[in-house]
Amino acid sequence: MEDVAVKAEGISKAYNGHRVLENISFQIEKGEVFGFIGPDGAGKTTLFRILSSLILPEKGEAFVYGLNVVDKYRDVRNITGYVAERFSLYRDLTVEENIRFFATVFGTTLSENYDLIKDVYRNLEPFKNRRAGRLSGGMKQKLALCRALIHRPQILLLDESTTGVDAVSRREFWEMLHKLKAGGMTIALTTSYMDEAAKCDRVALLYNGRIMKTGSPDGIADSFGLDLIQVRSQRLYAVKKELEKLPSAPSVSLFGDSVHVISGEKGLSLEDIEGFLKKRGFEDTQVERSRPGIEDCFLALSRGYKKKGTDGEGY
């Protein structure tokens, strides 16, 4: 139990009769980077607001470092650095004013915790007299992270922190997170970027308010036992359109330079697909089996993919 940073047991939550979270249970270990992946509306934000004590769960209990988020919400708030999905700092105050204000509010100063935030703050320093509302998306995110770190929390809760942030800023952001992890901080985050899921120690797939799977990114991908066929062609989009007509391929998606086909219960062979495409005049296709990534699992999941023999828990 000493290694557990967050423990959730059977959390449920509904808004106006609409179920947002359904019997969510998980554990996050101390010093872990734990990601919640799910499409919009999966319940990620609601879950993080419950963990940060901002809303009450309807059923179930959650503990952060052993503190119940309902009864001990003050203590939870003191050890938690929560970054909301929406930029929630003062847009009309400058970068420096924001940081100083929140430092005083948390009973500390910028210089006291400078060592912790210096990596992020260094990037912000050239803009310290700029109003927060005029920062770019990446800068805003860094400022929000600085704010969340100002009181040396033991756990960071980051809700969609990299959404709408450019690739370079995202990479810097992740470097920062890994440094914080190395310093012993627990980090829980939500994301809808699949490449970020792969950077987590463990992930949980959240879909329609339920946790579908928990495990290491690779482990999850493997455990799905997806039968993935990758199709390359010069005319990717047209190929995708055609493949969608295949009755036995429930999931067809366009990935950068190829089309991923996941075969259904009946199974598809490489020859089936090659033949199918050839008949429709696609000559230049390369068809091969491939190892599914977490994104494939996720897409399959969100399209209601079912396969016998996989872990049927929850769906």
Binding site: I55, R77, A84, R86, S88, Y90, L93, R100, F106
Partner: protein, 368 residues
């Protein structure tokens, strides 16, 4: 304490950064006091009249001259026949017509009374009433002079003396009222909006996850506005003194202390409003409808409370401005001390306690 100071500094930064807030805070009070000062008035000046004189004798000429000389009226037209009366009133050439009966001077000394008729345009009842009252006063004084030399004196002579406001100036009425209204609006509306804005922009979420307690957030929000509203109260007093010549007969310290108390009351009401509204528009609407209109209509600012139907009179008892206006009138105009207004002061103080208490209790430490 350091947290509190940090919060207050932040609030001041918000206020000074947003020029619209500054305009609302300082521009509107000045504009309102000036507008009310020059527009709301019970005095009449240069009202257009017409005269139908069917006698054309010495007395009727004397009265007509007296009316003209008063400065309140201008005689626009002399009519020839009663048939013209309707036309001048309808066209707006005159607001009222004085009609002298036939053989006016002849009838004056005798039993057969001389007759004057006032036909007033009552489509604007206030002006019509004022005009007839002023004219009556002129006629009465003329009559008094006529009968003085006669051996039979009038048995009752009314002497009017208007105490506290000898010249019946409107400024005595509107300054306390405007002050009550402006402080109420500015304080309550501004605080309710500023808290609602934190909710709207999501910064409340960040404040909530901080170790700040509800009371600290509320106190930090109120303090800057106390300072600014107090400056407003002083501005209003200075304006009414220098522009409208309204004196302060009572203790200035007591007056300012009362303003301060009223300000805190209005601010805590604003906080209470913000705890039930989730965005700035709602906060503003609630402030407008629950504060501004009742303040103007039910506090006795414009319409006397005594003339209201019983239900509205009861309602006016829960209107804080009602008490504040009484206090201000007592201190400024009558020059009385705390002994005469302690009850009203106590009512406002009690309201403040209730509002602050309700706000702290109603303040949500979570998002729902």
């Amino acid at each position: 304490m350091k947290r509190f100071a940090g919060f207050v500094i932040k609030e001041f930064l918000h206020i000074f950064r947003d020029y619209r807030t500054m305009v609302i805070l300082f521009g509107i009070p000045v504009a309102q006091i000036l507008i009310f000062g020059f527009v709301i008035t019970n005095e009449i000046r240069d009202v257009d009249l017409a005269v139908l004189d069917m006698s054309r004798d010495e007395e009727t000429r004397g009265i007509t001259e007296r009316v003209e000389a008063s400065g309140y009226f201008t005689i626009q037209k002399r009519l020839e026949s009663p048939g013209e009366i309707e036309a001048v009133l309808r066209s707006g050439t005159a607001r009222a017509v004085i009609v002298f009966g036939q053989r006016f001077a002849e009838r004056l000394p005798g039993e057969d009374k001389a007759q004057i008729q006032i036909v007033a345009d009552a489509s604007d009842p206030n002006t019509a009433t004022l005009v007839t009252n002023y004219l009556n006063a002129i006629f009465t004084s003329y009559e008094m002079e006529l009968v003085k030399p006669s051996p039979v004196p009038h048995l009752i002579e009314t002497q009017e003396r208007m105490v506290y406001n000898p010249n019946m100036e409107g400024v005595y009425m509107f300054v306390p009222g405007t002050m009550a209204m402006i402080l109420m609006l500015i304080c309550a509306m501004m605080t309710s909006i500023t808290i609602a804005r934190e909710k709207e922009t999501g910064t409340m979420e960040t404040l909530l996850v901080s170790p700040l307690r509800p009371f600290q957030i509320i106190a930090g929000k109120i303090t800057p506005y106390i300072v600014l509203s107090f400056i407003n109260a002083i501005t209003i007093l200075l304006l009414s003194y220098f522009v409208f010549g309204l004196p302060v007969h009572g203790s200035l310290v007591l007056l300012l202390a009362q303003c301060l108390l009223y300000t805190v009351m209005a601010l805590s009401l604003g906080i209470l409003i913000s705890t039930v509204s989730n965005n700035q528009v709602t906060a503003m609407m609630i402030s407008m409808f629950t504060l501004m209109i009742p303040t103007i209509l039910l506090s006795g600012f414009i319409y006397p409370v005594e003339n209201m139907p019983p239900l509205l009179q009861w309602l006016s008892y829960i209107m804080p401005p009602r008490y504040f206006i009484e206090i201000i009138k007592n201190i400024m105009i009558k020059g009385t001390g705390i002994l005469f207004v302690w009850q009203q002061t106590l009512v406002i103080a009690a309201m403040t306690v209730v509002f602050v208490g309700a706000s702290v209790l109603n303040f949500k430490v979570r998002l729902e």
